[in-house]
Point group: C2
Chain length 697, copies 2
């Protein structure tokens, strides 16, 4: 009872495919439910989550997976948004009614909360008020959100400005006579563009605008603005609202645009927790205005967690399909019968390294959560000392995790061959959803440079004998400062042999060496350049980005190891063995995976020899062999329901071919033609095909 | 006159964005029209193509780019297909009426011909009949196709079998009494699945089925089958036809499924050019049945050319947008005003290396075309000696070019930040179209292993002192056969310094060394393994794939250089300089690009030192600086019309922000709400939002 994953489609008829998947599942070396408990933090959570999914999927009518999912049939822009509203309402109300936060940051289909037209209220609107509002503002607005009386959004990005927040053009000008702010869009490019839910769903939004008091521009601040009438939903006077149209994904919500034509709000609706304007027009800023970074940090932590789940979704589908899809006569074409895709080494390599990356991102997100919690705890006591480390570490992780998940989900899709191209495979939607995260909430190349800048400052501090965050202590090793900058310990090479490469400390030392070398090389190039800081930065930008990524990859590996090492004492040895193996697979395959980003930097200084690389390749091969029987278990453990995967290729029961045909036969383009027009697509045939056949060409 | 690219939207009002793009265009170092002539093979072709695009875009009403393109508004599955029929008819008829083949392999939106419901007739159906039909069959069917009297398709892939053609399950059983073949689908997995145009558009198809004569199974053969009545379009008796539903792209055609319930065709409708069944049931196979590979070779050559154009489309949009998008205060955040994205080195690096890859693919496709032509010429004289080389070289290039273009188009999309996520940016559709090519017409990992197998056979031949194709002569160098296999010249290292790395021969030597080393290492590992051929192949699969890719990358570089070297004497020196620079950029950046596949293998044996790599990085930086003013010219030269790019970010005039807002205001979700419901999305608000706001939660 409750020890196997949920299955909404118990196979009625066994066939070759369902048998293959069952057999693979039976061969898993650990208890799958126990691994789900690791992922979700306990049996209690796993069971409560299952119940929540069951309720929401029941309300939305999606548990019966014999029915073609609506969005795969014939849905246009407006219908996609309507479906998003339906799902969004069910998820929002379930969280309130059953007092859980499972759908606060992620939807029941594992998209980020901003894919839900009600989802920004709890994930962005409330946290922003909590961080930036006064006590009175919190007391006024947060209860309204928690009871669903208003639907909030966060309105920052403009047509002309995204990552560069200082460029925001919308103005909030104080009118001393009426004691109001006048919110205005002075240019076309100042049109608010992209914010989730502002098209047609939200009632209120926190708007980022330049504060202007007595002609002085104080830069970007936050203002509470009512967008729509609570009576009938019409836009408030002076506010134009609309949808930005179809996107690659997230079409269940109405990312929108907004323009303001001299819209007036009371002065007291500026969020004044950290900076304020008083009745006489005097401006005050809190010494800790950087508290505002907290919103970014929490948003990015949420993204990191979400993309781990999205990569896991994609690879769950791929693992199941690869297990049941038989193709070709084995690796060398010499087998007497067709063999499962899972027989082929390239498939092991791709799938298992992707599984390892999903776990790596999951564990990195836990470290982010813990970091964020500690950081907030300190801030509440007035200690802001870890802001730099926390903010920059999470910026780097956001960039690395989102790029890794986006590339990985697409590779998982390609692993399914042509069938992964079908919308009903579920993979195109997952790939499209996850790739959004690489460009929103801070463009990745910008974030990596920001982390690079922070790391350089740490070296500056070391040089000046000032302290740096203790978690960056590895930056101290292996070089010395000289008159011209610093000298690196160039002769260092890795001394490990054979299975020593399976030791965590050896693996860490490889990552640490690379990161340190790249950071120092970029630092020297920038700091010693005679060309001035701007040119020097620009010329070395790719090296700075590479250094920041290498540092982040070291942090990811460290997080993975610490979480595996910190497993509760009750964890079974089978689970521990599996986690240790995927951690090693992650560490070693990243060095030799042809698709790894900048793997050249692990070896270009001779730190690892060709013989050592070949040892690593051989160990990776061994790990793949050991982990292969666990692939289905390692993905089942994420406990995705069939309705949440929404994939004809990835059903729990493996009944791929019957599901594909069963769904396709329900498509309106087919049923309309078959039931009404004897199998002819009437409008197309009459208007376009017949005229070609009958033309005299 | 005719010396600047076509522009359908002459900017009425100059603004910051149009001014920035104009300025960039004015700074290009070469005549852009001349570069178009290089790409298309002469001024005559450029002008004729422009006229063809103008006619087709006029007929389809897409030249007026002030109108929101229909597919970006509110299109569902059926409407997308109808639009595809309209475009398809216009393109097909234009080719026939004006006697050109511009749209035979590619659509006016630069998707492959199989995105056009009429497109397979000339791109697959006719070539298949030409290669596999008898003289009578050619005389009967080809004229019907050329006059549009029938619409043909090619029907091979099944639900259960794609790349592995030998696994095809559909049967064609000879009935000796009636002298007919009975086409039948014996299992669910034998359902024909995926073929383009079979859902609702084609009238006839060449069907791949197992030939069964007197209970003997002769494997896959080709059969002409009428699918639909020419009178009213209804499916022929016993044939069930339908659509596979939405896909990531290609939704303008009806990739379909087909099942056959004992469908009878005359014996003479088997394509009998290479193998035949006579009235008495005797089976004869031509000694040159491998002629059938010709279809694959031509299909893959077409794909290679197409993906070059698709990558060029994506990077054209990105180059224009990056030129006009201003964001941030320069690389180090110290500039006094905002700067264009093109100011940032990471953007130079990404965009210019992608431009270089698009040209690399274009030139590789020319070499494929020439190779194919020569191969066919020889075959017509009964000389099949180059089949192995041609077939395998093109298989490797198909894998490399499609993966490179797919990854590149997605990176180009990400270079546009969040705006690249909008459907109206045109980029999601381009990315989705190009990524299909990585998994169709031969899955890439399978193709690379096939090339690997061929390269191994060449080494076998060398070992046995047998000849190999002269273009593989580099496989002879740098090692010697010994009793245990062979000994590689391990001490080799690259002796080049400084600007010597700009010399083509030096660049080639780096690629050649890597390819040879990887091929030999994989060869030894497989051939000397004690584990038997199947296990040995499987264990070394990733190494075999890496070796094949390295060989192909050498072929790509060689092709690039040979085409740049073979430029006609009339080519201006400015054009030659630009081409030489992008060729060098391609060669050198591939070694040090963090995103390169398996760059580690360039250096893991110590062939290049860290100092040499840093020299290469510095030369790449110099090339980027030299090429930066030409980025707009190098992309303009592909001569894409605004209607074919269909991108609010990538218009010729650079008028990005006005176009975005102009299109978005025309979207039905907005106009319906604004014009009919005072700005409220009525169905959603009433049914889902209001109930949440009014619920007692």
């Amino acid at each position: 009872m409750n020890t196997t994953p949920t299955s909404d489609t118990i196979p009625q008829n066994q066939n070759k495919q369902t048998t293959l998947l069952k057999k693979a599942r039976d061969g898993v070396s650990f208890n799958i439910f126990d691994m789900s408990c690791v992922i979700y933090g306990g049996a209690h959570v796993v069971r409560k989550r299952r119940a929540a999914f069951e309720r929401v999927e029941t309300i939305t009518g999606t548990r019966d997976t014999s029915k073609l999912p609506r969005s795969y049939g014939n849905m246009n822009r407006e219908e996609a948004y309507e479906e998003g509203l339906e799902w969004g309402k069910a998820a929002f109300e379930d969280g309130i009614n059953y007092k859980h936060d499972y759908f606060d940051s992620i939807t029941p289909r594992y998209a980020l909360a901003n894919a839900n037209p009600f989802g920004l209220t709890m994930s962005m609107f409330v946290p922003t008020i909590a961080f930036q509002g006064t006590a009175e503002q919190k007391a006024k607005w947060i209860p309204l959100c928690e009871s669903g009386k208003i639907n909030g959004a966060y309105c920052q990005t403009e047509l002309g400005h995204g990552t560069f927040v200082r460029g925001i053009e919308t103005t909030a000008t104080w009118d001393s006579e009426t004691d109001e702010f006048v919110i205005h869009s002075p240019t076309l490019s100042s049109t608010k563009f992209w914010p989730g839910a502002i098209g047609f769903s939200c009632t209120h939004a926190v708007v980022v605008a330049r504060l202007i008091v007595c002609s002085k521009d104080y830069g970007a601040h936050l203002f509470m603005v009512q967008f729509r009438s609570l009576e009938d939903g019409t836009p408030m006077p002076g506010i134009e609202l609309g949808d930005v149209g179809l996107k690659m994904s997230y079409n269940g919500t109405c990312n929108g645009f907004a323009t303001f034509n001299n819209v007036r709000i009371p002065r007291t609706d500026m969020l004044m927790g950290n900076s304020s304007v008083s009745r006489d027009g005097s401006y005050q800023q809190s010494p800790h205005a950087k508290l505002s970074y907290a919103t970014l940090v929490i948003a990015r932590t949420t993204i990191i967690r979400a993309v781990g789940f999205q990569l896991a979704q994609a690879v769950t589908i791929t693992t199941r399909y690869s297990t049941v899809r038989e193709q070709g006569l084995g690796p060398n074409g010499l087998s007497s019968s067709e063999m499962s895709l899972m027989t082929y080494k390239s498939q092991h390599f791709r799938i298992l390294t992707l599984i390892a990356k999903a776990y790596a991102i999951l564990f990195a997100s836990w470290v982010c959560d813990a970091e964020y919690k500690e950081f907030r705890g300190k801030q509440d006591k007035g200690d802001h000392s870890t802001l730099g480390y926390t903010h920059n570490m999470i910026a780097g992780l956001k960039a690395w995790c989102t790029q890794t998940a986006a590339d990985g989900a697409e590779d998982a899709r390609k692993c399914c061959g042509g069938q992964g191209y079908l919308t009903i495979s579920g993979l195109p939607e997952i790939v499209a959803a996850v790739t959004a995260t690489a460009t929103f909430e801070g463009e990745n190349y910008v974030l990596e440079q920001q982390l690079g800048r922070y790391l350089f400052k740490c070296i500056d501090n070391l040089k000046a004998s000032k302290p740096i965050d203790h978690r960056l202590s590895y930056l101290v090793d292996g070089y010395a400062f000289t008159e011209n900058g610093l000298v690196m310990d160039k002769d260092s090479s890795c001394g490990a042999q054979g299975t020593e490469f399976l030791q965590p400390e050896v693996q860490l030392s490889v990552y640490r060496h690379r990161a340190l070398r790249l950071i120092l090389a970029a630092y020297i190039a920038v700091r010693l350049s005679p060309k001035g800081p701007m040119k020097a930065w620009n010329e070395n930008m790719m090296s700075i980005v590479a250094a920041a990524r290498a540092h982040t990859e070291y942090v990811v590996l460290l997080s993975f190891m610490s979480q595996v090492g910190n497993a509760p004492p009750s964890t079974s040895s089978a689970i521990k063995t599996a986690l240790t193996r995927i951690c090693s697979l992650f560490a070693l395959s990243t060095i030799i995976n042809p698709q790894s980003n900048n793997a050249i930097s692990f070896i270009e200084d001779g730190y690892l020899s060709l013989a050592q690389l070949n040892t690593i390749r051989s160990l990776v091969n061994d790990l793949l062999t050991e982990l292969l029987p666990d692939a289905v278990g390692l993905t089942d453990a994420w406990d995705f329901t069939d309705a949440s995967l929404c994939s004809a290729l990835g059903m729990m029961d493996g009944n791929v071919y019957e599901t594909i045909m069963h769904w396709i036969r329900q498509m309106p383009i087919n049923t309309n033609a078959w039931n009404k027009h004897k199998g002819v697509f009437q409008p197309g045939w009459k208007q376009w095909v017949e005229p070609v056949l009958r033309a005299k060409l």
